[in-house]
């Protein structure tokens, strides 16, 4: 880690600020270049899933607790928004549901505190099983709490009164704002002691407890923040679709997609999940568009993923970062007298 002249690690680096600036510019400019609705739609889903992957990465990547239940909170966020803005209500302008999102996220985070406290009494692998159980419990409740969710018949939301020519744009920018918020948290984690504490939990939780890391509190709060963002994503998604069903709101495939995106791009990094979403979501949609009728797109989608995992098992970003680091150390001759075991993830360098 580069230290400042005073010996402290910097919060902001010139390259970090530049990367952030480029991302904001791309998020604003990119869709303007393509006026077609299907491209706006694809970009909306890419950015929404990128935000969820970055959020999942906080707990699944940095802390090493692979939650498979994030879709439960996605669904809760979706139904919370649907309950507040019922289809019978006519919106004077279309922005109220977006302004309500922080409250939806906060509600999901508060709900996650006791759940996380109980679920995180077990270690990472068992935690994955506990959280997938949570997802199926939430899905079952979605089907059966008919007064809130409408059951299998679904629930409608207020129609967004945006002009048809620009209908996708407010949703896209809401998702982009959520992505920047999630990335801001991930960036903050990598630049503070919180990031080191999470990495220590992932590496060896018992040892971390033994050197005074407040493991329980850190894990539970990180889980709450992670699912809070996921709940907000659910709210945007529900408002965009206008009508939601339990089988899609509490869909295990949502969790699987965001886990795959994170692993593909590189977990425990700020940019890895964004990269993974930027590859997988358009690939999935384009393959579905071109070869969707034959279902071959699912095989092609899996093949892309398997190929990258075969060639870059630690994810794209950590593989390249580690190679660049090793090359730089070999040039400086810093490798003498050390083991050459690579780090298991991208660490927290990017």
């Amino acid at each position: 880690m580069k230290l400042s002249k005073k010996g402290a690690s910097p919060f902001f680096t010139r390259s970090g600020l530049m990367r952030g600036g480029v991302l904001i510019a791309v998020l604003i400019v990119m869709p303007q270049l393509f006026p077609q609705h299907w491209i706006w739609n694809m970009m909306f889903f890419t950015v929404l899933y990128a935000a969820m992957s970055v959020a999942w990465n906080l707990i699944g990547g940095f802390a090493g607790y692979p939650s498979l239940g994030h879709a439960a909170f996605f669904g809760i966020g979706a139904y919370a928004t649907a309950s507040i803005f019922k289809s019978s209500e006519i919106l004077t302008n279309g922005w109220q549901p977006f302004f309500m999102l922080p409250l939806v996220g906060l509600g999901c985070a508060i709900l996650a505190l006791p759940i996380g406290y109980i679920a995180m009494r077990v270690r990472a692998n068992i935690f994955a099983i506990v959280t997938i159980t949570l997802l199926f419990v939430a899905q079952t409740l979605g089907y059966n709490l008919k007064s809130i969710t409408g059951g299998a018949q679904g629930a409608g939301l207020s129609v967004a009164p945006f002009h048809l020519d620009i209908f996708e744009q407010p949703f896209y920018f809401a998702a982009a704002t959520l992505l920047l918020f999630a990335m801001g948290i991930a960036y903050f984690i990598t630049k503070t002691k919180l990031g080191m504490a999470l990495t220590s939990i992932r590496a060896d939780e018992d040892k971390a407890r033994g050197v005074g890391v407040r493991t329980t509190g850190i894990k539970v709060i990180t889980f709450a923040v992670s699912v809070g963002i996921t709940g907000m994503a659910g709210g945007i998604w529900a408002y965009y679709l206008g009508f939601i069903y339990p089988q899609f709101a509490f869909d295990p495939l949502i969790t699987i997609a965001i886990v795959l995106m994170t692993f593909l791009g590189g977990r425990a990094t700020v940019w890895g999940p964004v990269l993974g979403a930027a590859i997988l979501m358009p690939a999935q949609q384009l393959l579905a568009y071109y070869v969707g009728g034959s279902q071959i797109y699912l095989i092609a989608y899996a093949a892309i993923f398997l190929l990258i995992m075969l060639l870059l098992p630690r994810g794209i970003l950590p593989t390249f970062l580690n190679k660049r680091r090793m090359d730089s150390m070999a040039t400086k001759g810093d490798l003498s007298g050390t083991s050459t075991t690579p780090v298991t993830t991208g660490g927290s360098k990017s």
Partner: protein, 243 residues
């Protein structure tokens, strides 16, 4: 010398097996005390019970005059009681310097401060220099050799300026030169006021570095005394050599 650690009738059972059986001993402040015994005598279990990694079934553990029997490892660490493990445990995905900083402890609010402050950097640099790890400060811990990991683990528990350090087999698997380095560091930190309780199988190391020596057999304390006395105690010879 005052008692820093008091263990009284400490007992731990795993099913039908009594791993620690009414074990009692004390560790005086400023001493380098050894805890020895044949394989399976319960030494590491005693460490786990003292440091809060395992709950005991009965008995008392007091640190600096206060009961610590039901406290967590983190809380004990903040009170100045810390330990190393038989297999060197370091955080593989953190750099060597970060391994030290994360072990520096501190308040909740520090979590939201800079990853490495100037103060952290200076404290870590001191230890890295002492343990001759400065040249690998920016490497990930996973890239260190076994001996370097042992040194890093030892250095990291000293970051919080502890009063009592429990070392579990500090010389296991390290070369003779590094064993001497370990002995030098233990003596030097002991001279600076740190008390040590050491589980060790290398008798030559124990006899050179530690005094007193506590001997466990089948979870019970069978002898306590200076190295020479313990070495010639028939109960100890019997425990090691059998009937």
């Amino acid at each position: 010398m005052i008692e820093l650690l008091r263990v009284e009738n400490l007992t731990k059972k795993f099913g039908e097996l009594t791993a620690v059986d009414a074990c009692s001993f004390t560790v005086k402040e400023g001493s380098i005390t050894a805890l020895i015994g044949p394989n399976g005598s319960g030494k590491t279990t005693v460490f786990n019970l003292i440091t809060g990694y395992l709950p005991s079934d009965s008995g008392k553990v007091e640190f600096a005059g206060s009961s610590i029997r039901k406290q967590s490892p983190g809380s004990l660490y903040r009170k100045g009681l810390t330990r190393t493990f038989q297999q060197a445990r370091v955080f593989a995905d953190l750099t060597v310097q970060e391994n030290l900083v994360v072990a520096g402890g501190g308040k909740w609010t520090n979590l939201f401060g800079r990853r490495i402050t100037a103060e952290d950097q200076s404290r870590a640099a001191e230890l890295l220099d002492e343990f001759k790890l400065s040249h690998v400060a920016d490497l990930y811990a996973s890239e260190l050799s076994w001996g370097q990991r042992k040194l890093l683990e030892f250095a990291s528990v000293l970051m919080s300026k502890p009063r009592l350090v429990l070392l579990d087999e500090p010389t296991a698997g390290v070369n003779p030169i590094l064993i001497e380095t370990m002995a030098t560091h233990i003596r030097s930190y002991n001279a600076a006021g740190v008390t040590f309780l050491i589980v060790e199988h290398d008798m030559s190391f124990v006899m050179r570095v530690c005094d007193p020596v506590i001997v466990l057999d089948r979870g019970k304390t069978i002898a306590v005394g200076d190295p020479e006395t313990v070495q010639s105690d028939p109960r100890v010879l019997d425990a090691y050599l059998g009937d």
